[in-house]
């Protein structure tokens, strides 16, 4: 009886493994990734962020990028190809440097964390629908920056 469940379990696992491999292959063809340009008519222009997103999307290891900025700070969330996650620290430094070259006046904070990416995505959507005043944007950037530095 147990043996039957065991075999069934192994079959389901191999099916899941096959599906997940198929999915990831479909999602990462060698074409340009979609980058959303944010235009907000309140507070700081998101043009620097849009440009940073374009710069980073040219990197072939980046699969998704979101960014927001105010006058002197920029917070970027990237997703990289999974097999590159082994050298995540190096990737982060490389990508941060690239953006810093184009924006020497900005304080750049780049994160590969999924949560940071999700939070930036939410703020981007709020900006796009002009729901966010510049003071609130400041607060949000502070909050996300603090979140990315948490250790426990």
């Amino acid at each position: 009886m147990l043996k039957r469940y065991f075999i069934l379990y192994i079959l389901i696992l191999s099916l899941l493994a096959a599906c997940s491999n198929e999915l990831s292959r479909e999602q990462s063809p060698s074409q340009d990734i979609e980058v959303k340009h944010i235009s907000s008519n309140q507070g700081s222009s998101q043009e620097p962020s849009n440009q940073a997103k374009d710069i980073l999307s040219k990197n072939e290891d980046v699969t998704a990028v979101k960014a927001i900025n105010n006058k002197d700070r920029m917070i970027i969330g990237v997703k990289v190809k999974h097999h590159k996650r082994f050298n995540l620290e190096k990737m982060k430094k490389k990508l941060t440097k690239k953006v810093e070259e184009s924006f020497p006046d900005y304080k750049i904070e780049l994160s590969t964390d999924k949560k940071i990416y999700l939070e930036i995505e939410k703020i981007e959507e709020k900006l796009q629908s002009n729901d966010l005043k510049s003071k609130e944007l400041e607060k949000e950037i502070d909050r996300i920056s603090k979140l990315s530095k948490e250790q426990t």
Binding site: L13, S20, N21, H82, R85, E89, Q151, T152
Partner: protein, 116 residues
């Protein structure tokens, strides 16, 4: 993808433990202790964090990650307060495993009846 690698890497670490059981004939206490020490060593060499980035829970769930967290706590504190931080900072980053085990151990002892 991370789910796949969490499964594979977690499974492989358990296979290492199983080989310690079967081939080297170590007891569970010896095996777990060796694995924790291995986790500390790997983090000292800077190899465990990339594994966590790659495999997620596959590297944080096995007991090896306990050794990794202890070294991290010690290093963080040593950066701030010098060499004494190596002793004082160890449990700053990790307490979840031990605290949870003790708390739920006592709760379990209250709720459950011992089985023969």
């Amino acid at each position: 993808m991370i789910f796949f690698w969490a499964f594979v890497i977690g499974g492989l670490i358990c296979v290492i433990g199983q080989i310690m059981f079967d081939v080297f004939k170590l007891s569970p206490a010896h095996t777990l202790t060796s694995l924790v020490v291995l986790g500390s060593l790997l983090d000292g060499l800077g190899l465990y964090e990339p594994l966590i980035d790659f495999a997620g829970a596959g590297a944080t769930v096995p007991i090896t990650s306990f050794g990794n967290s202890l070294v991290h706590g010690a290093m963080l504190e040593a950066e701030k307060h010098g060499i004494i931080g190596v002793v004082t900072g160890m449990f700053e980053v990790t307490s979840a495993g031990i605290s949870a085990a003790i708390v739920f151990g006592v709760i379990g002892a209250i709720l459950f009846k011992p089985k023969g």
